[in-house]
């Protein structure tokens, strides 16, 4: 019975005939202007300078490094992720604006690689955040990195690189794995649930036991509103 539920329902046709053309244009533009966040872990980072600079020249594909996650599209995880680093990786990933893509480079991100026996290393990256693409190897050469990036571009253009939605749809699952690793009081500044509502991606997997646990201790960070009032409020004692 369960498999019947999985039969995809064909979407109702859009009323605007140009909408699909426009969507295609948007996806094309998206795939041709990718910014990689300057955040590298482990040893695979060493393969990126040759990929970026004149020898292999990533920029001819429209891919450039970017200094802040708010403007970046791709998060490259270029090697083993220690538990301490993983906290930072998740913080950074959540700060990126959607659509965002994660590429795991090197064997360590796939299964822990040569750090399989380490107590301080996260083994499978996709337990903690959705990964679009893995480039295996120890380490993969720049050609392989660029090959992988091209595949990502093709998938973006085809509209298939949607794994970032999975983080919102199944947030409870990812949060559960994070809590298992970091402890129950784990919290990032980003309010993922309200973002899920913002993107209309709230689904059954978004909320669950783990998010309830989060809500118990979460101190939400409200944005600093522009305030015009002239009444001076005394600081709360």
């Amino acid at each position: 019975m369960s498999s019947i539920k999985q039969i995809p329902v064909v979407e109702a046709k859009r009323t605007n005939p140009l909408a699909r053309v426009f969507d295609d244009l948007v996806r094309f533009c998206r795939s041709r202007s990718l910014f990689i966040l300057h955040y590298c872990t482990g040893c695979g980072a060493i393969e990126l300078p040759p990929a970026m600079t004149s020898r292999f020249d990533m920029e001819r594909l429209g891919i450039q490094p970017m200094v802040s996650p708010r403007q970046a599209d791709i998060l490259l995880i270029t090697g083993y992720v220690s538990i301490k680093t993983l906290k930072r990786v998740i913080l950074t990933y959540e700060q990126m604006g959607s659509p965002k893509y994660v590429i795991g480079i090197c064997s360590c991100t796939v299964n822990g690689g040569m750090y399989w026996q380490s107590y301080a290393t996260a083994k499978k990256l996709d337990e903690y955040m959705p990964v679009d693409l893995y480039i295996a190897g120890c380490m993969p050469r720049p050609e392989a990195v660029i090959e992988g990036l091209q595949q990502l571009m093709d998938r973006i253009h085809a509209g298939e690189a949607n794994s970032w939605e999975d983080y919102y749809r199944n947030y409870d699952y990812y949060l559960g794995n994070q809590q298992k690793l970091f402890g129950e009081d784990w919290q990032t500044p980003t309010d993922v649930i309200s973002e899920a509502k913002h993107y209309d991606l709230l689904s059954n997997g978004t909320l669950g036991d783990h998010t309830r646990l989060l809500e118990q201790h979460q101190k939400p960070l409200e944005a600093l509103e522009m305030r015009l009032g002239h009444e001076q409020k005394e600081p709360a004692k």
Binding site: Y39, S68, P69, R70, T85, K87, R88, V89, L91, T92, Q95, P189, T190, E195, H198, L221, E222, A223, L224, E225, M226, R227, L228, G229, H230, E231, Q232, K233, E234, P235
Partner: protein, 625 residues
């Protein structure tokens, strides 16, 4: 006896002073004085014909001392400067009423003395601007100097030593002017304005040089020209908020007024140009231009190093004075207009900037650029005022500072002075860098925990700031309005007048129409806004939800970079900050101290009879010979 319009103005101004003096302790004294400034402005506007090319309006007050006739009158130049004086006094005084006044009294300030000093400054400035001969000019000059001292010394402490330094410079300048007057008197036997022209005709080159140095130096002290610039920044910055807005807006421009009157109008730029500096290819006019340019560059780059917002602005006040003098010294139609227009423009944005900084001090208690940040979410209107002000100060469209600086640059290019042009542009570069530091360290970046509860400045302070911002923008959009007054002032001092329209300047070598410039600029903003607002909803995030290399941020850790701002630039140019002028000032001071100590030792040791005998001998010798 019929009162002329000028009499009315001076009486009104004197009445303001008396009101401040005698009932300045009463309730709502500040509002009363402000209304009286409004009355002065109306009295000035009744003379508006002067600002549109009219002749002169004399005062009925005039008398004779030792054969010298003293008279007072207003012409286009005086009217232009008086408009700025009274306008900035009105808005500064308005700013000081209400909330600021109360906090000033709470902190132990003497508000009666403050209002009296302001009224006295305005009154003496009007007397100076009205001077009709050299003697009344000198009297007005000294009055303005002492009135300025009264305002500067108010805050006590650091302000007192700054004011003492100012009065030392001002007295030295006054003595130089007095020496110049004596030279003119001996040459022509009169102190009427025309006497200068006669004296210039009769004098040899060397004496004329001396005269230019005496007058230029004396008036230059007030303007803060190099090398007499050291007193100005601390003296203006340490004055209580609205007072520094007023002083920064107009006070040192009295020096430019006197230079225009004596050096440009009476000497004539042609005569100054004929004075060659021996053994060099430059003449007195080039010398003035280069002094102006160094006055732009050095104080501007000193401003960049300041960590106190008020000091930063006060140093800029000196630097911007250089642009005014530079334009006036170039003395073609565009340069003269640019220099004089910059007086008006500078007054508007400098007052707005000082007021915005004072509003920040009022709310947070500090103007230390390393102790502020992120206030844009708490004081958004003050932020807008400061933003408009710094755009004006940096000389960028669409604000008024752009027009006057454009005119000065254009005249330098037209007259074939590329090196001066380059130097002026370097000055503007320094201005842009340092005003960015100002707005960044106060309003952008991280809001401190202790400023979470801060709110916008009260309306009594906000309204004058908004009025000034509106003036800055409107005169940037329609520079033809102040250019009319500038043209009238230029006619008075005998400089050529540019063809001006409502939107700017008509010229064969390139016109400027700000209506078009701003229209195109805002069309660009429109396109940007279209892209921004059509891109879907945006989401505001907390300042601690921010990226710092993956670090988890907390409110107790500062992640805003404000100390040692421009470290990279300072790595390159830091070695140039040698403090040579400070060293010079200190060495002169030590020399004077040393000499006076020597004299003291002499008269302490020897007996009085010996001195009496020596003096008597000298007197006899002098009489006999």
């Amino acid at each position: 006896m019929m009162l002329t319009l000028l009499d009315e103005l001076l009486l009104f101004s004197g009445a303001t002073l008396l009101v401040a003096l005698f009932i300045g302790r009463g309730l709502a004294a500040g509002w009363m004085v402000t209304i009286l400034y409004g009355g002065q402005l109306l009295a000035l506007l009744k003379m508006a014909v002067l600002g549109y090319g009219g002749g002169t309006i004399a005062s009925s007050l005039s008398f004779e001392i030792m054969g010298q006739e003293l008279s007072w009158r207003f012409d286009g130049l005086s009217w232009f400067f008086a408009l700025i004086t009274i306008g900035s006094a009105l808005l500064s005084s308005w700013f000081s009423c209400g909330a600021w006044e109360r906090s000033y009294i709470r902190q132990g300030g003497n508000i009666w003395l403050f209002h009296t000093a302001m009224a006295l400054n305005v009154f003496t400035m009007l007397i100076l601007l009205a001077s009709g001969d050299l003697l009344s000019l000198f009297i007005g000059w000294e009055l303005v100097s002492w009135a300025g001292f009264l305002l500067m010394v108010l805050a006590g402490g650091v302000a007192t030593s700054a004011a003492m330094r100012y009065i030392t410079y001002a007295m030295a300048g006054g003595m130089a002017i007095f020496g110049g007057l004596a030279l003119i008197y001996t040459a022509s036997g009169s102190l009427q304005l025309e006497a200068v022209t006669t004296a210039v005709e009769q004098m040899s080159g060397a004496k004329l040089w001396l005269l230019v140095i005496l007058f230029g130096g004396g008036f230059g002290v007030k303007m803060g020209l190099m090398p007499f610039h050291l007193w100005q920044a601390p003296a203006y910055a340490e004055t209580p908020g609205p007072g520094s807005a007023f002083l920064g807006a107009i006070s040192s421009r009295m020096g430019l007024f006197a230079i225009l009157l004596v050096l440009v109008k009476l000497f004539g730029i042609v005569n100054i140009e004929s004075l060659k500096l021996p053994f060099t290819p430059i003449d007195a006019r080039d010398l003035l231009a280069w002094i102006a340019v160094f006055t732009i560059i050095l104080p501007t780059f000193t401003a960049m190093k300041q960590n106190d917002a008020r000091h930063l602005l006060a140093w800029h006040g000196i630097g911007q004075g250089g642009y005014m003098l530079l334009g006036v010294v170039v003395a073609d139609a565009m340069g003269g207009a640019g220099g004089l227009l910059h007086v008006f423009n500078h007054a508007t944005y400098q007052a707005a900037l000082f007021m915005a900084v004072t509003a920040v001090i009022y709310r947070t208690g500090t103007s230390d650029l390393n102790k502020l940040g992120g206030l844009v979410v708490r004081m958004p209107l003050s932020f807008v005022v400061l933003l408009i002000g710094i755009i004006g100060l940096a000389g960028l469209p669409p604000m008024n500072g752009f027009v006057s600086k454009w005119l000065v640059y254009r005249s330098l290019l037209n007259q074939g002075m590329p090196l001066l042009f380059l130097a002026a542009v370097i000055g503007t570069l320094g201005t842009i860098l340092s005003v960015y530091k100002l707005i960044h360290n106060i309003f952008l970046g991280q809001l401190r925990v202790e400023h979470e509860h801060v709110s916008e400045a009260p309306w009594s302070m906000m309204i004058p700031m908004l009025i000034l911002s509106a003036i800055i923008f409107v005169t940037g959009l329609l520079p033809g309005i102040p250019l009319e007054w500038v043209a009238s002032a230029l006619q008075t001092v005998g400089l050529p007048v540019p063809d001006h329209t409502l939107g700017g300047i008509e010229s064969a070598s390139g016109s400027l129409d700000m209506i078009w410039v701003i229209g195109v600029l805002f069309a660009g903003f429109g396109v940007g806004a279209l892209v921004f607002y059509s891109a879907g909803r945006s989401k505001r995030v907390h300042q601690l939800d921010n990226y710092a290399g993956g670090h988890f941020l907390s409110a107790d850790v500062r992640y805003q970079y404000s100390d040692n701002f421009y470290a990279g630039l300072m790595h390159l140019i830091g070695g140039w900050y040698r403090g040579s002028f400070l060293w010079l000032e200190r060495s002169i001071r030590s020399l004077v101290e040393f000499l006076s100590l020597g004299m003291q030792g002499l008269y302490r040791r020897a007996n009085a009879e010996f001195y009496l005998l020596t003096t008597a001998l000298f007197v006899i010798a002098w009489v006999v010979i």
